[in-house]
């Protein structure tokens, strides 16, 4: 049963990921990417990590991709034209990198088969909210706080850049609104 579900969601994730690259229309690519995130969330649920799954859907599918789709719709981006000649030199590089990636995955698969580590049972509480929260606020407190400062910096930086290039209008104009 679990194997069947794994094959289903894994195939969905791979199919959607291929569609992200293959689609010409940016909106279709974005929708396929949402499909990737949702099938990944399903895989997380099967790995007994419901919290990660829920956060995956809320943050990636629910917030980030909404903004991406929003921008695509707002700018009304046309279908990408066939201008592949400019990027032709990247094709061999892409093939080489893909080969490295596949080799890595194959290595991991082989080494997992050989190792004697017992896989975690699905009844463990590692992926539950309580254990994740406790770990984040005790053992991993410093990385957690540093990450939040990093995000804050990104927000402030985006605001500064947008204001300097006149996207938001000057401060006086904001006040008048």
């Amino acid at each position: 049963m679990l194997v069947l579900l794994f094959i289903l969601f894994g195939a969905m994730a791979i199919g959607c990921a291929l569609a992200v690259v293959a689609q010409r229309n940016p909106l279709y690519s974005a929708i396929s990417l949402i499909g990737v995130f949702i099938s990944l969330a399903c895989l997380y649920v099967m790995l007994a990590a419901p919290f990660i799954a829920a956060v995956q859907v809320i943050v990636y599918a629910g917030a980030i991709m909404v903004l991406v789709v929003f921008v695509i719709m707002l700018l009304n981006v046309e279908e990408e034209e066939h201008r592949r000649s400019r990027l032709r030199f990247l094709v061999p590089a892409a093939v080489a990198l893909a080969a490295v990636l596949i080799a890595e995955v194959a290595f991991i698969l082989v080494s997992v088969q050989e190792s004697r580590v017992v896989p975690t049972s699905s009844a463990s509480d590692v992926g539950l909210t309580q254990s994740i929260g406790a770990a984040l606020f005790t053992r991993y407190l410093l990385p957690f706080e540093i990450t939040s400062i990093l995000l804050l910096m990104a927000i402030v930086g985006a605001m500064t850049l947008a204001r300097r290039s006149g996207l938001l209008g000057s401060r006086d104009q904001l006040k008048r609104d």
Binding site: I34, V57, I58, G62, F70
Partner: protein, 353 residues
Amino acid sequence: MDSQTAIDIALKFAAISVAFVVVLLVVAYTVLAERRILGFIQGRLGPNRVGPGGLLQPFADLLKFILKEDIVPDKSTRFIYFLAPVITTMAALMTMIVYPFGPEIRIPFTNTVIPLVIAHFDVGLLYVLGITSVGVYGIMLAGWSSNNKYSLMGGLRSSAQMISYELALGLSLIGVILLAGTLDLAQIVERQSGWHGFRWFIFFHPLGFIIYMIAAIAETNRVPFDLPEAETELVAGFHTEYSAMKFALFFLAEYINMFTVSMLATTLFLGGWNVPFAEDIFGRGTFLFGLVSAIGFLLKVIFFLFLYIWLRGTLPRFRFDQLMSFGWKILLPFALLSIFLTSTLIFLFPNLF
């Protein structure tokens, strides 16, 4: 797969079907109630011809939707045009499985115990938020794929509005999570069963409740926040180009969403299925206790649905810039304040919780 798993899966499917049928029936009669109550508020009768007192009106409407001609705009993006109402309805229905409709019910004269919740989920609350946020896509894509500027404006407005108010909605729930110490909806209800079934979180977290109600109305695109379908400006907003059954799906999704946010409000703030003094009268675990609790839950939800209809009959519509500045400049700071207040309360009186 052994036979026990198969039976379990079949039982889950049966439970989900029953829940969906009940919800769809309640939704159908919410539509009728809305039309009758609006009629009453506006000094007219409302639909009362089909069946006794108009009780068969929802089925007549359904028949009409099925029989109507289904018009697809010529220049629309076909696949997404068909996908959008499906996403919206699916996202609206999918949250239904985690709500505790009542405590465990013991069937009389047998030892069978039926829990009135379909799925116990460690992150039930996050699941609800996640599925709700996916529902935005249906509306956005409907607006985009129709290839109509009014639809596009409606879709954009709606997505901007939903992103903005989702923040305040999520923040207003943090107080409840702090009070309950869990994200499992069934356990959140259990935590509210003290004080003879009157230990509702609304008493500890009233500001959060008010913010939740406002944000929830905005999330469901209802008056006074129904900017996405403001008929005086945008024809019918994102569903301008939709007809027949596809329009019916959007219509249905809106009312199912009303129902789910009402259920969430009941579960998180009004004690879920806890009916005051029911435990003292009937005793925990008896059949009558389960029945009374489930009916109590439904009555609380119906109260919220009535509130929605009442608001629609009473309030005018916001202007779009007012809506945005209200969400970001008033609702969000107050949501943060409510988290601060609730945390302080828990810190000062740790014995209370």
